[in-house]
């Protein structure tokens, strides 16, 4: 792809599109204006449906379909999910920082399509500075008459507000996020009912990821057929791939969905740091099974349909590379520390399970574990899987189960080798 569609600030010669006048001069908000003044909400939903856009927040749910599910009650709400806290994910932050108006335009089009007059952008608390900048941009949009009452002399009114989280990964889960806006603990709700029926303040609500919404103005201005021509049949459009860990050049890479791991890692990102060998890939942050870096995996297209075929998930494409110096048991221990810290504590298998798995992995990594500890680790992982209220419970076991299955020697090593630590090699 020659043109950046999401990371548009990177296009050669493009001026600073975080500046409203520049964004407007480049055709910004034309789609929004056209929609508000000439289109029905239903026809917007139909176009998004036809585009094949799928959610970029992890689950890949068809966006237009989600918008069409809203119960026929009012008020309705639209919430952007800018909580971005999965280890290895840093795409939404770049969008919000450098291409904020395309995101806001997407959020505003979504609100119109959902017939919602209030939209919130939920940003993780760490985005404190960024959120203050975004609030200023929203003020500007009010001043320009794109937000407020009787927008473009129509009956439509819309306000956009920001809500800051305060350091809790679980608030990225949509129902926990809604609880958090309501001023409650960020703990997931039992589903159903889904947000489309009972969301924010028990009203019908759309929750979409920041990157998902940033696609919307493109689709509305260039048409669903154009959009569908990018990517694969089931995974349409551009996607930001976050590449971290042992990449030679880590960073965000905007590509078409459907390029292979190999193309991304070796052609675009220059291969592995220090030209070492790649050992394993974590394609969806800490939350999905680890993949071995073999030819089959490397030649797999990055799509919602292909990555599950090799035993993992595309998620939000937060791809962590592990080179051949990495002790997988150490990496798994790191992920478990994360999940233990981030478990919201609402259900016992997750709260206790992450605690025990972290304890056992800690023992293994300190070379004091015995074979029975590994067995116990496997058992605990099995007891957690499928028994939790929200997906975090299952996420927490992905790296453990796949790590043990594929790289068992990295765990056993700590049992047989007494006091030696191969973690020393790994600095």
């Amino acid at each position: 792809m020659t043109e950046y569609l999401l990371l548009r600030h990177r296009n050669q010669g493009e001026e600073n599109i975080a500046d409203l006048d520049t964004y407007l001069a480049l055709g910004g908000f034309e789609a929004y204006k056209n929609i508000v003044t000439t289109m029905t909400p239903e026809s917007v939903v139909e176009i998004i449906k036809a585009s094949g856009l799928r959610g970029r927040g992890g689950a890949g749910f068809p966006t237009g379909l989600k918008w069409s599910f809203l119960s026929n009650r009012f008020p309705r709400y639209v919430v952007a999910n800018s909580d971005e806290s999965e280890p290895g994910t840093f795409k939404d932050r770049e969008i919000l920082e450098h291409n904020p108006f395309q995101f806001l335009e997407g959020l505003m089009i979504c609100a119109y399509a959902a017939q919602s007059e209030v939209a919130y952008n939920y940003c993780r608390g760490e985005f404190w500075e960024l959120t203050h900048k975004l609030e200023e941009k929203v003020h500007q949009l009010n001043d320009y008459g794109f937000l407020g009452t009787q927008i473009f002399n129509t009956d439509y009114s819309l306000q956009v507000y920001h809500h800051l989280g305060a350091g809790a990964y679980i608030c990225g889960e949509e129902s926990a996020l809604l609880e958090s806006i309501e001023g409650k603990l960020g703990q997931p709700r039992l589903k159903p009912p889904f947000p489309a029926d009972r969301g924010l303040y028990q009203s019908p609500t759309v929750v979409n990821n920041t990157e998902t919404l940033t696609n919307v103005p493109l689709i509305m201005s260039r048409g669903p057929d154009w959009y569908k021509s990018i990517g694969t049949e089931k995974s349409c459009g551009p996607k930001i791939m976050c590449l971290s860990g042992h990449a030679k050049h880590p960073g965000n890479y905007e590509t078409e969905l459907g390029i292979t791991f190999r193309e991304l890692i070796y052609d675009l990102a220059g291969g592995i740091k220090g030209d070492r060998n790649l050992k394993a890939i974590m394609p969806s942050g800490a939350s999905a099974p680890i993949l071995p870096a073999n030819d089959e995996v490397l030649d797999t297209p990055l799509t919602y349909e292909d990555v599950p075929n090799i035993g993992s998930q595309l998620g939000s494409a937060s791809i962590i590379l592990l080179d051949d110096t990495v002790d997988i048991s150490w990496a798994v221990n790191k992920t478990m520390k994360f999940f233990k810290h981030e478990s919201c504590g609402k259900c016992t298998p997750c709260r206790e399970g992450t605690y025990w798995m972290s304890h056992l992995l800690g023992r293994i990594n300190s070379n004091v574990a015995e074979t029975k500890d590994i067995k116990l680790l496997e058992e605990v992982a099995n007891q957690v899987t499928g028994k939790c209220l929200c997906p975090l419970g299952d996420f927490s076991t992905s790296a453990v189960v796949s790590g043990l299955e594929l790289f068992r020697e990295d765990f056993d090593f700590h049992l047989s080798n007494g006091n030696q630590s191969i973690q020393d090699v790994n600095i």
């Binding site: 840093f90 760490e126 203050h132 800051l164 990964y169 603990l185 590449l243 592990l322 810290h341």
Partner: protein, 177 residues
Amino acid sequence: MSKEDNILVTKYGDQIQVILDRYPDDQKRSAVMPLLFLAQREGLQITDVIMDEIANILGVSTTQVASIVGFYTLYYLQSGGRNRIQICTDLPCALRGSDDFANQVCDTLGVKIGETTEDSEFTVEAVMCLAACDKAPVFQIHNSEGISYFENQTISDVQSLIDQLVKVPEILEEDDK
């Protein structure tokens, strides 16, 4: 209510109204998180008095406010350094040397992870992913002015930042005189 129970309302009345206006009239409770952030401008510690005041403003119980403070990691019940240096040591950053980096920062300040310097200027903490993994080593500084990111850091960057942060109040005091 005595005046000292009205710290936020007295000082930030207008801003509190702006915050409350973001949420429906019958959903004031939604404002608890932004009000807690506002309170932390007075110093990074949420006191009982502040929780009472926020509970009063929102018409909820102090226990409800306290549970929010306890749940979210960016609100602090315990006092710490004036600046919290929160270094990401999560997996992607750790693969790029952030554990070592965190230890070096600790050595520079003469503390361990989780500890506060004797002059109460700095607390060093290890935190989870900050959404800046491609720019490791990365940390944020959380103080009463807010939260700022520092990316692609070296230990000498940290050293000069520390000097700068310690100097700031002196400069302010001189200006005040």
